[in-house]
Amino acid sequence: MATTATAHQTKWWSGGKSPFNMEYGKLMMWYFLMSDAFTFGAFLISYGSIRFSQNFWADPNVVFNAFPGAGHANLPLAFVSVMTFILIISSVTMVLAVHAGHKGDKAGVTKWIAWTIVGGLAFLSCQAWEWHHLITGEHAVLVDGHVELIGQTMRANPWGKLVEGQAVVDALKNTSHDNLVSLVSMHDHTTSHDVLSAMSNDALINKLDVAELHIREKGPVAFGGYFYGITGFHGFHVFSGVVINIIMLIMTQKNVFEKKGHYLMIEKAGLYWHFVDLVWVFVFLCFYLI
């Protein structure tokens, strides 16, 4: 009996005692998460550093004001709050899954892990929509004395300072026919594209209300790289979290944990999932709130 006990102990930490009275895998998951926190921290601090080095930065309430199905309605913070709540709720379902695991309740683990996966997929879909909207959405930007329509990409940022008055009138005169047609059709949904294309440049300009155009200069280029880089890296963590949770679900279904006699693996997956939620709290702060 004594020898089997020793052999069993060495399996965990080899020193005969479990440091911190904690399972090896769980402790290492904590240390991994700590290192990951430094990675995300470095990204976010680098973003802050660049932001502080600029005289102008894009206003998040102007950048993130769209909502699926709401067209051009100005709804700052609305969509991102949906995303935030999805992650918080999926974190709660994960807590419940871990708790069911402590009790050895297979049905409970299955149910709550499944809901967590649903939450993760919902978050990823929201992010996909948001990225698609930012990349493909066209915004009127003053470039070299004429108006161009550009989206938010890694190379360009359409959210610089607002241009007003005479500068807009001058820029419109130098703007290409196609861009004018697109500009008019953005504000006027009643006239068909073909009719607009047939109109002359001056007639098109006459249809535009200069005060309502909201033409901007190009904004800080670094915005795109940081936004897509950091939210993308976070999205990648969500994705891998979903994959881990799906594996946990399959293992639960195959009675792997039942045979082991404990559901500690769910706890480790849970730690990772909560960390993803934790990082989002800071991404939300840095990109959307301040």
């Binding site: 399996k11 601090i45 502080f52 102008f56 206003d59 309430n61 500690l264 934790l278 709130l289």
Partner: protein, 151 residues
Amino acid sequence: MSQHIISPEITFHTEHSDADFKSRVRKTTILLSVITIIELGIGLLIYNIHKGENPNHTLVLMFKGAVCILTLAKAYYIVSVFMHLGDEIRNMIMTIVVPLMLFIWFIFAFIYDGNSYKNLRNTYDKHFQESAVEKQEKKAEAPAAKPGGKE
């Protein structure tokens, strides 16, 4: 089956009773939701201050500071309740939290660095400075080239 049970060395359990656990999770969920809603409210407030004539930059900065503190509170609750770090042994908590203290220096140093780069360029790089000048003309109320540098 006994060899499959967690090591007998691990005698420390973080579990609570069922009812206790449920009320704790419910309280934390409500707390996180309420903090998030307050944050969103402040975010919209900042948006409306920005929209108005002559936005008060000190006020905006104060609200942004408040949001940062609320975020730290959220992070605390996620880590200590959802991740059960608060229930672990103190020395284990310290091995996680103490290294993260590096962030305090990290944040101050790098933001100070970015701000210093901006001030240097505004002083010596005329092309870069143009963007600052325009901004100051537009917002005549704003103090010029603030040393604090927060937008």
